[in-house]
Amino acid sequence: MKPTSFWAAPILSVLFFGLFVGIWHFSTQQTLGEVTVDPEYAALIGAQAATGGQSAMPGPLDVGAKLWEHIRDPFYDRGTNDKGIGTQLIYSIGRVLIGFALAALVAIPLGFVIGMSPLIYKALDPFIQVLKPISPLAWMPLALYTIKDSNISAVFVIFICSLWPMLVNTAFGVASVRKDWLNVARTLEVSSLRTAFQVILPAAAPTIMTGMRISVGIAWLVIVAAEMLVGGTGIGYFVWNEWNNLSITNIISAILLIGLVGMMLDTMLAQLARAVTYKE
């Protein structure tokens, strides 16, 4: 096969993007028809409603303008319920990182124990299997009711959703460390603590990192929904607040930024994962 040029993929990406925006632009473009109602009435309703239609989907130009407006002034503060999109993203990222860190603190040691002891693995397996598939948002009412603090509840939801992939992956990674290496450690009379840190941990690290990467992805997905439920601050609240205003341009801007931040989080963990991979 002929090697493709370095620029082929980026050029194709730009082409796809252009095609998408073009289709979007032309499908949402609309010529406002004649105003069919009397001008006094028309002043009371939206521009599209005045011509007998419904307010429509915004085009890419509207969204671009809105996005630029947000990026130009990301940290404004016009009161408790109206803060810049940058501030909202920071709130959300903060919640995700706290919940994720707490989950890592619990999941990795616990996963280690489960992975090293088949007995504990078998004993805990039914619980993990039942708890794992529960949608994290289902925990929300229970969390609000028992924790009695919406902020901690949101962090708890992140905690619970990032817990399982890390736990399962750590246990799997630890359990599948090659027996030869453990045997070598044993013949050299390495203490079990040292074995854990110097043999098992590096050996299982790539699998653990994969779990963490899955977790952070899920956490970022869930935080938006959680904040839409609880409100207050965060990018999810921003989306909800703009839904309230039926402002599709704002919602699309937020969606783009949510995607970008999600990608950033994933890339960061991918870098970390690359640092711990090894060749056998």
Binding site: V37, K148, S150, W240
Partner: protein, 453 residues
Amino acid sequence: MSLPNPFDPDVKLHRGGCSCGHHRNQAEHDQAHAQDQRQQQDRLVEGAVMRALFPRDAERRRFLKTVGAGTALAAISSIFPLGLAKEVFAETNGPLEKTKLSVGFIPITCATPIIMAHPLGYYSKYGLDVEVVKTAGWAVVRDKSLAKEYDAAHMLSPMPLAITIGAGSNPIPWTMPAVENINGQAITLAMKHKDKRDPADWKGFKFAVPFDYSMHNYLLRYYLAEHGLDPDRDVQIRAVPPPEMVANLRADNIDGFLAPDPVNQRAVYDGVGFIHLLSKEIWDGHPCCAFAASREFVTGMPNTYQALLKAILDATAYARKPENRKEIAAAIAPANYLNQPVTVVEQVLTGTFADGLGNIVRDPDRIDFDPFPYESFAIWILTQMKRWGQIEGDVDYSKVASEVFLATDAARLMKEVGMDTPTDPVMAFSVMGKPFDPSKPEAYVESFPIRRT
């Protein structure tokens, strides 16, 4: 308690502990201090009364010794309203127990007094630093209030009743010191039902109301039942948070809703629906949303509670005047509060609005603001809860009503901010022409052919 006094030698220097060292933190110290002050005030009043009754010391001592302090107190209370005197004294002098408050609201025009008191400065006028927090839905408002994240909140007027009697949650004594708005709701239908104006044609419709325990739910059920439709069998009624209603109507998920404004007007603005009927045509002067707080807050922080209530009553008085409505609309429309186009809010508040069918309707009573929590409102709400099976068994209608709807407090404070108050907290009214007698709630429930009892 915001800024420490720089000239105070006992001012708290470290985290933990308080200025006198007897309490765990400054807040506890302040609270104990306020209590001490209250006790001292009480003593002062008692002392003044005793001295007025027994000017000679020896005589007073002899009286107290012979009958005992408790009996003396009871005897004096019977001829002199000692408790009232103490209360009156406390009202004028009490320091605020807490100045930084958090009040939750749902972004709808019903909450106008609670919201506008913030940009128009009513809270600061009474020495309070209130943060008004927008909330995603009624269940969240309830949970955050129960969790004490909110000191007080905007609720639907049936909610404090439901919380108190434990319908939909554990029973916790809740109070409703003031009604926010009267009227101001509407039935909106999707554009495609433009020709189906007779409710008899609505079989199979899907309707949305903001919450199960809402005036909207009871009014819609009442309206449908009066037109011969069984709200549980002939149509579907589901709870949808107000902000999501227009989106759902647009997506054809529902055929219509009985909703608070600006949702109705927003549906017209976006060309999605039309206003079929204003709720005032079902019951003119019906209460809708409420200012609600836990009984714990009302009794535990009486001065703060009164200052907060007065700020809201003052704002309500301002909102009553039609000439102020445009200014209020501009103040509460921005993203920090309702997040709606100004014209939508203005049409709701002024009552000059587009109905979605090409007509401009002028009805200055579309929404009004009357804070007085008539106990008969509560009784009517309870009859409807009973009627639709939300509560079962015997209900002590008037007892619950008077415990939750704090009519006496409202009347006193309304006078203080210069509003007219009704003399009787029980008022008879009629809903769709059918008179309601608050003294016979049980008979009223039984009088409906369509009911779940």
